[in-house]
């Protein structure tokens, strides 16, 4: 023991603790007896997430110290005892409680205190600050009796404090000296946008206000008087007007301090006494005090390395970029947000309606990102920060990075573009390289990575980026989605299309024997059935194909939860005559089906039993209906608006075109379902821009949109071609659809297909419109074959004894499924729920 030196740390705050935690992982710790003074009544806790205390996070949960940390590492901690003096001659530190410790090396991590402007009355009751757990307890206490709370200071911390007051149920004001909020990080426009957002939340913002006096209030405990003569009654006054380094103890022992405070340190984080270091918010480096944890942590690591004799490691400044959510408003600032750099150029984007403001500061040659401000939407933060920190060259049009239109991914910087040395997590200085090594060593989840590398365990700002790195690395290591269709075919869907076309394969069995193994499964069978149908278009219930079909295709109807089916006849373009409507109603009535108008402009009849399907369809076909293919991965509906025939704004006949298109492509089997719509003018009543294929009439002809999607991940369609005459329009759609059918993956809608396509929309245009692959004619021909061989699947089925056999419920009995039970609701049937089956008297309709 005795040959060990003593290392003393004053202050056990965030940085002091990070220093200890880093030190004990380094072998150098064996050379020291470690002692620390901790003024607060508890060891280090997470100040960054202090506000979480209000939402119920306990002091214990905020703790940054693992259970048993001090004991296990032989660290002596004097809790609730403050160091009061340093004798540098004797190398002795004395505490308030009279403890004296001799040190060989001393680390000052005393942090800072909230600055309270010396306004007369600043020490009145309920004038508080916001830094420690005790401060929060005082706020909570004061809020119990008060109604109004005012924060002095509209910076980062002030706004966070305002949120806390608001959450405590107080009428909240923010008083700021400067003309805008977050003056340090934001420019005027950004500050104004933030102000609007925060005011919308019910917080009153007063800018350019100088408090001159705090005195007795009339309705409230306090009254604030401003230099401009205005007054504000408030119960609580919360000062958040900046921080001041706690350098008194250093000053008293003669260490160099800055003019405006802060213990001066060099790149090794040494003070003017080579045996004394200073780190965190008390330290002044290069004239700067850093009020953020990340730079403090970097200083802590520098000292550990320095003690260990690693002289290369030095502190050379830190990035002050920040991203946070203030009262639910995303705010981020990166680098040189104010464009102070010589020659800097600025791009800005402002959307008053959605309250988004974004600003990019780029170098004179437009090659590099110098800074950025984001308010209202900080989704691009990680990407922009990486451009800035790693000096990555910007894309040709840097404004694409802040303009909305395209999805974030498409303009985002792929994580693959980051060098291994790029810092991903600045709190814990974790590089992309070290994340990759951790993944190589077996981490497969973000949680694993947090444990292994500490990335994303500080401010949390890097979490999305960490996740992207993880995903991309896993993909590279072969955890990638295996592109084989399934265990029976080591091919993609596109490979199979080519095999089937080139080798003229007509059945699943042929394909399986020659190119697959086993019996097949519910993935490859329907997929191959669909490819065969789109190539050769034989009836899907032919003996060779029937067993391949998903149940919906196999019974040409959609199975419902109770094993019954729905029936959806085609109503082209949504146009239907009264007679047809009556016929439909009669069938529904006769078979007691539940009837509903679908989202696709047609009628769905539910509750048909398997054995009833042919009977129902016979009647429908006799009445002039045909299959609506609601069961297939095929063309669903072509939605129309009424268009020029009736509508006073109609530019062209949208109904006729919709009907023509629906009749042309009905029955086409495809990787997933396909939906169309045609609108008669740009008012777009048919919602064509949400469809796989959308057409809108204009004075100059038809405009064609492609690859839209509703459903799970809605996507606006892209404008593909404009001012087309009908012939060209149809030719273009023919090619587009054939190309989709050939090259998309199983269950891939056109939207996802296009987004995953290398080259995206431009490539698609070059293939379909410019015919870059000289496929045009072939694609059109393929479509023509399908059109020429169209048959109403239901008509063929009811005319064929063999096919009708599928629709017997029991092969050996005329009985029916006694588990199908309906109850009545609003005058129609619906399947009985589980509880109803047990407890209620059931009406059986059969």
């Amino acid at each position: 023991m005795s040959e060990k030196q003593t290392l003393l740390v004053i202050g056990n705050g965030m940085v002091g603790q990070h220093f200890l935690a880093t030190l004990v992982k380094n072998p150098i710790k064996e050379q020291y007896n470690i002692v620390t003074f901790c003024e607060e009544p508890r060891a280090a806790y997470d100040r960054v997430h202090l506000s979480a205390f209000f939402s119920g996070t306990s002091a214990k949960e905020l703790s940054l110290v693992e259970d048993g940390f001090f004991e296990q590492n032989d660290i002596t901690i004097h809790i609730g005892d403050k160091a009061v003096s340093i004798d540098r001659e004797q190398k002795i530190v004395t505490s308030e409680k009279g403890i004296q410790v001799h040190y060989d090396k001393l680390v000052l991590a005393t942090g800072s205190y909230p600055f309270v402007p010396p306004v007369p009355g600043h020490d009145r009751p309920q004038c508080l600050v916001y830094r420690t757990i005790e401060d929060l307890e005082a706020m909570t206490e004061a809020a119990k009796t008060g109604k109004v709370g005012t924060v002095v200071g509209g910076g980062l911390l002030g706004l966070e404090a305002a949120k806390a007051l608001k959450d405590l149920g107080l009428q909240t004001h923010v008083v700021e000296f400067a003309p805008r909020l977050m003056a340090v990080q934001l420019d005027d426009a950004g500050g104004a946008m933030l102000r609007r957002k925060i005011e919308a939340l019910g917080v009153v913002v007063h800018t350019s206000k100088n408090t001159s006096l705090i005195t007795d209030g009339e309705q409230c405990v306090n009254k604030m008087c401003f230099a401009d003569g205005e007054e504000l009654e408030t119960d609580i006054v919360l000062f958040s007007a900046g921080i001041r380094p706690r350098d008194d103890i250093a000053r008293a022992c003669g260490l160099d301090v800055g003019q405006r405070g802060g213990i001066v340190i060099n790149n090794d984080c040494k003070t003017s006494d080579p045996d004394i270091y200073a780190i965190g918010e008390c330290a002044l480096w290069n004239g700067m005090i850093y009020g953020l944890v990340a730079p403090g942590y970097a200083m802590a690591r520098t000292v550990v390395n320095n003690l260990a004799g690693n002289i290369d490691s030095s502190f050379t400044g830190a990035d002050m970029s920040t991203k946070l959510k203030l009262m639910g408003v995303d705010v981020a600032s990166i680098g040189d947000a104010h464009a102070k750099t010589q020659g800097a150029m600025v791009y800005s984007y402002q959307n008053g309606a959605s309250e988004v403001y974004k600003r990019l500061v780029v170098s004179e040659d437009k090659k590099y990102l110098l800074g950025a401000v984001l308010v209202g939407d900080a989704a691009g933060y990680s990407t922009l920060l990486q451009y800035c920190l790693n000096g990555i060259e910007l894309p040709e049009n840097p404004d694409a990075l802040i303009l909305p239109s395209r999805s974030d991914e498409s303009v985002g910087l792929g994580v693959d573009a980051l060098p291994a040395s790029a810092t991903v997590c600045s709190c814990y200085n974790v590089t992309k390289g070290s994340i990759c090594s951790a993944i190589e060593a077996g981490c497969t989840t973000v949680d694993d990575l947090k444990q292994q590398t500490q990335a994303a365990t500080g401010c949390g700002g890097c979490a999305t980026l960490v996740k992207s790195v993880l995903n991309s690395e896993l993909a590279k290591q072969g955890y990638a989605v295996n592109t084989d269709l399934c265990e029976h075919f080591a091919y993609t869907r596109q490979d199979l299309v080519n095999l089937i076309r080139v080798k003229q394969i007509k059945t699943f069995t042929e394909l399986l024997t020659e190119h697959g193994k086993g019996l097949g499964c519910e993935i490859c069978k329907p997929t191959v059935a669909s490819i065969l149908a789109s190539q050769w278009n034989e009836h899907i219930l032919e003996t060779d194909h029937a067993a391949l079909q998903d149940t919906n295709d196999k019974f040409l109807a959609n199975m419902q939860k109770d094993g019954t089916y729905s029936v959806v006849p085609r109503i082209t373009g949504g146009e239907i005559s009264p007679d047809m409507l009556i016929a439909l109603g009669q069938v529904g009535k006769k078979y007691q089906l539940y009837t509903k108008i679908t989202g696709g402009q047609r009628v769905d009849l539910f509750g048909a039993r398997l054995e009833q399907l042919p009977l129902i369809w016979k009647e429908l076909i006799d009445a002039g209906f045909e299959s609506g293919h609601a069961y297939g991965k095929s063309l669903r509906t072509v939605k129309s608006c009424v268009g020029s025939s009736w509508c006073r704004y109609g530019v062209d006949d949208s109904v006729s075109l919709a009907i023509e298109l629906e009749n042309r492509y009905k029955g086409l089997r495809s990787p997933h379902k396909i939906k169309f719509a045609v609108s008669g003018c740009t008012r777009e009543c048919a919602e064509a821009q949400s469809k796989d294929v959308g057409v809108i009439a204009t004075e100059n002809g038809w405009n064609l949109y492609v690859c839209g999607n509703g459903g799970m991940k809605p996507r606006h369609a892209d404008l593909f071609a404009t001012g087309l005459d009908k012939a060209t329009l149809i030719k273009t759609i023919d090619r587009f659809l054939s190309f989709y059918v050939r090259t998309a993956d199983r269950l891939q809608r056109t939207s996802v297909w296009m987004e995953n396509m290398e080259g995206g929309l431009d490539y698609l245009k070059s293939v379909i419109i410019d015919d870059k692959l000289s496929l045009g004619e072939e694609l059109e021909q393929q479509m023509q074959t399908v059109i020429d061989t169209y048959q109403c699947e239901w008509k063929t089925t009811i005319e064929n004894e063999e096919k009708l056999k599928h629709f017997r419920y029991f092969i050996n009995s005329d009985a029916t499924d006694d588990n199908v039970i309906f109850v009545e609701e609003r005058g129609q049937i619906r399947p009985a729920r589980d509880e109803e089956r047990k407890h209620f008297n059931l009406v059986e309709v059969a």
């Binding site: 029976h488 019996l519 519910e522 199975m559 094993g563 092969i811 050996n812």
Partner: protein, 131 residues
């Protein structure tokens, strides 16, 4: 009463299922002539019978599922939510604790026969699985 004649082979659907009513039970019968070209089953029995009720989707639909093999197990995939049931053991591949009753099934000349007493070793399994 053990083996009962249910139907003729021509009533079955190749590489697919049909449903039969046997002793008041809904029995899904799968006919897989292609099994002979694989090494999936020791005896290359072309017919399999299980109860038609899908305990997960809670409806009588299993005969309408797609048959095939997954990891060397002969399966039917439920048409409702696509879980796989092993045609020989009745076990659900996605959920160990779920199983459907399996019955003995054979082709005798042209007749398809089913014995609806549970296949012996499975009785216990189903008891465990459903309790």
């Amino acid at each position: 009463m053990q083996w009962q004649n249910v139907c003729s082979v021509a009533d079955l659907a190749e590489n697919s299922g049909v449903c039969a009513l046997v002793n008041g039970l809904q029995v899904a019968i799968f006919y897989i002539p292609d099994i002979r070209s694989t090494n999936l089953s020791l005896f290359s029995n072309p017919v399999y019978a299980i109860n038609n009720y899908d305990p997960i989707g809670k409806a009588n639909v299993l005969s309408r599922g797609i048959v095939g093999d997954i990891n060397g197990q002969l399966i039917v995939s439920s048409p409702l939510y696509k879980q796989h049931f092993n045609l020989e053991t009745g076990r659900c591949l996605e959920n160990e604790t779920v199983a459907v009753p399996v019955y003995a099934c054979r082709i005798d000349e042209d007749r398809v026969q089913v014995d609806t007493r549970l296949v012996a070793p499975l009785r216990q399994l189903i008891k465990q699985g459903t309790e």
